[in-house]
Structures are given as structure tokens and as C-alpha cells.
Amino acid sequence: MHMRKVIIFFLLICQSSIGQILLNEIDAKELKSNIINKSLNTENIVSEFVQYKHLSFLEKDIISRGKLIYIEPNYIKWKYNYPFNYECIFEKEKLTINNEGNINQIDIGSNILFKELNKIIANSLKGNMFDEEKFNIEYYEHHTNYYIRFVVKDISLIKYFSAFELLFDKKNYDVLEIKILEDENDYTKIVLFNKIINNDIN
């Protein structure tokens, strides 16, 4: 009995130190429904972002910054302004890369990596990527945020990504962070801020 109390005590400490609680099925379902409703009303997003590239062997993450524009259903423009000017536009089946005036257009129709990356990022910007055929999905609650982990189970994707993690604002279900895990050690984290949803975009 004494041992059981000790174990429970340590489990509570661990849980509070991690700071996130796994949601039960009913709460997870409600969260999913709220996020989908929010995404259905999202026509466009303009946001600034900071990108942290984490490589396990480096002391510090590599930081890039820029602005992104998303227009429903499949236009995404990543406009980097630090550490160098670089534009990446996903539109339909085309990826256009603007390297300081040098423009390359790539047909992504046959490229699984780009095609899926485009789809995943478009869905994750809206928060709606609840594809249970492709992912095992876990829902967590944090003090001020929800956090959903999408573990890749689709074999064609596993060689590129192992999981995705989305952090949501608890008040309005806005996506605050997108984390793309390549493997257990390395990831790209994109933190969105100054986000404007459904504004007029010319």
C-alpha cells in the first residue's frame, strides 16, 4: 500500500513536470470537432513565423524568419527574410522557388515528399489534419494550450517524417506552433505569431 502511494506520488510529479495531460476520448472528440469547425471557417491566413531547425548534434537551433500566406484551398507562400531572402510557393501541383530572383518551378505532382508536405502544412495551418489512416493521433491538454501529436503510420511518409505536433491556443483553437519531426532526434519547429485570419488579401 505504501509502495503504491509512492508510485502515484512520483507519477503526479512526472505529469506536472511534463505539464500535459492525455485527453480522454470524449474531450479529444470535442477538441477535434472545435478545431474542424474553426478550420472550415478559415479562408486565408497571413502570419509571421520563426523557424527553429533542431539538429541533435548542434549546440543551438538554426533560426530562420519570415512571413507566410495561406489561401484556401491550396496556396501557401513561405517568404523568408532571414538569414537570406527565399520564397517558396506551393500552389496546386506546382512548387515555385524564388532564390533572390532566380526562379525555379518544380512539378510536385509526382513527388511524394513535396505533395504530402504541402498537404500536411496546409492542413496543419488550419489545424485540421485528422487523417487516421495516415496517423496515430494523441490529444493532450496543457495549462494554456492543447497539443496534438500525429505519429506517421503511412509507409510512404515514414522515410521523410516520423511525427507532427501541433500546439493550439486553448481560447480560440488557433495553431500556434507546427513541429515536423524527421526522426527521434531532428525536427523543424515553426512558431506563428501576429497571425491574421480571413483578412482581405490582394
Binding site: 538569414p83 527565399y86 532566380n102 523543424t188
Partner: protein
């Protein structure tokens, strides 16, 4: 007959000029006790050597970020990423070993891998055994020779490595210059490949 002779002379002269680097002409032999040269630029295990990369090839530019890190006494880990953050290649390299952890299928070609391997080993290691030493304009030049491959290391007046010249079978192969050097970090590096002509600019990223 005269025309043929003139043509032959022109061909011989132009071949002679195009084979080597003019910077390495008229070298004076120098007696040096040094028998080894170290490249100090990627040698500190505590430093993340992150550089913005600009590759000029066939009038096109490719940009990205490269991370070079000395991970132990033998190996360096090197990852090259697009601006978007996805890895184009990930390798572990030592002087005699080259292990590909991953390479993007678009660049997974034999000649590209060889070019990358040659550029990276030349940039980080080279062949550091000195066979000859020279002096020109008060600056030291060390030469490392292995069969028909020659590497010249040019030091400035403070004995800092500033240029590497790579020659293979008498032909110019590669030229590397290290610029804006401070605390053994070259903030600016240029790698010029000849045949095929590819120029790579590296700019140190301090974030």
C-alpha cells in the same frame, strides 16, 4: 608548315597556362622543418559551423544552409538543408571515411556525390602532409603531393591559412579561399570548382 608550327606553339602555351594557377608560378623553395599542416576552420568541437550556402552552377543559384560540426577526434557531421529546412544530405566524414546517413533522391547521383565528397574533404581536411615548402611575396606556401594530386596551402604573413589550391594531373581542380577570419572562424569562404565550373559561397551564420 609555319602555320602548323605556330598553331602547335599556341596550343602548347594555352595548355600550359590553363593547367595551373598563375598564383603558383615563380615559387622560391624555402627550407621548413614543418611536415604537417592543419586546417583550423572546422576543428573546434564546441562551435556550430553554420553557413549560408550559395551555389552558382550553369548561371543558376541554389541557396541553403550547411551545418558542419566536429563531433569527436575523428569525425565531422555535415548536414545541408534547403532554406525551407528539409535535409538534402546528412553525412559523417573523417579523413578516410565518408558515410551517407541520408541524401535526397533528386541529388542522389554518382557524380554529384563524388563532387560533394571531393569538396567537403578538401575544405575540411585536404592532405595535410607537407612535401615541399615555398615562399612568394613574403608568404609561405606548403605543398602536399600524392601521386598526381597536388594541394598547395597558402598562408598570409601572420601564418594564417588563407587559400588552398588543388591540382589533379597538372590541371586546375579547385580553389578555396578563406576570408574575414577571426578566432579561427572564416566568416566568408569561396570554393571555385573548375570543370565543371561550380562556385560555392559560404557565409558564416551567427544566430
Amino acid at each position: 608548315m609555319i602555320l602548323t608550327k605556330r598553331l602547335l606553339i599556341i596550343i602548347i602555351l594555352s595548355t600550359f597556362v590553363s593547367c595551373g594557377f598563375k598564383e603558383l608560378n615563380n615559387l622560391n623553395i624555402y627550407n621548413s622543418s614543418k611536415n604537417k599542416i592543419e586546417n583550423p576552420y572546422f576543428s573546434n568541437k564546441k562551435i556550430d559551423y553554420n553557413y549560408i550556402v550559395k551555389i552558382e552552377i550553369n548561371k543558376k543559384n541554389i541557396n541553403g544552409i550547411i551545418s558542419i560540426k566536429k563531433i569527436d577526434s575523428i569525425y565531422h557531421r555535415i548536414v545541408f538543408m534547403s532554406g525551407f529546412g528539409y535535409k538534402l544530405f546528412d553525412i559523417e566524414v573523417s579523413k578516410n571515411n565518408f558515410k551517407w546517413n541520408s541524401i535526397n533522391s533528386g541529388i542522389n547521383k554518382k557524380y554529384i556525390k563524388k563532387l560533394l565528397r571531393d569538396n567537403i574533404t578538401n575544405l575540411i581536411y585536404g592532405n595535410n602532409k607537407i612535401n615541399f615548402a615555398y615562399k612568394k611575396n613574403n608568404r609561405l606556401i606548403y605543398k602536399s603531393k600524392e601521386e598526381r594530386k597536388e594541394i598547395f596551402y597558402l598562408l598570409d604573413t601572420t601564418n594564417t591559412l588563407i587559400e588552398i589550391y588543388n591540382i589533379n594531373k597538372g590541371f586546375k581542380k579547385r580553389f578555396i579561399s578563406f576570408n574575414k577570419i577571426k578566432n579561427n572562424i572564416a566568416a566568408n569562404i569561396k570554393i571555385q570548382n573548375f570543370n565543371p565550373s561550380i562556385t560555392i559561397h559560404l557565409e558564416f551564420l551567427n544566430n
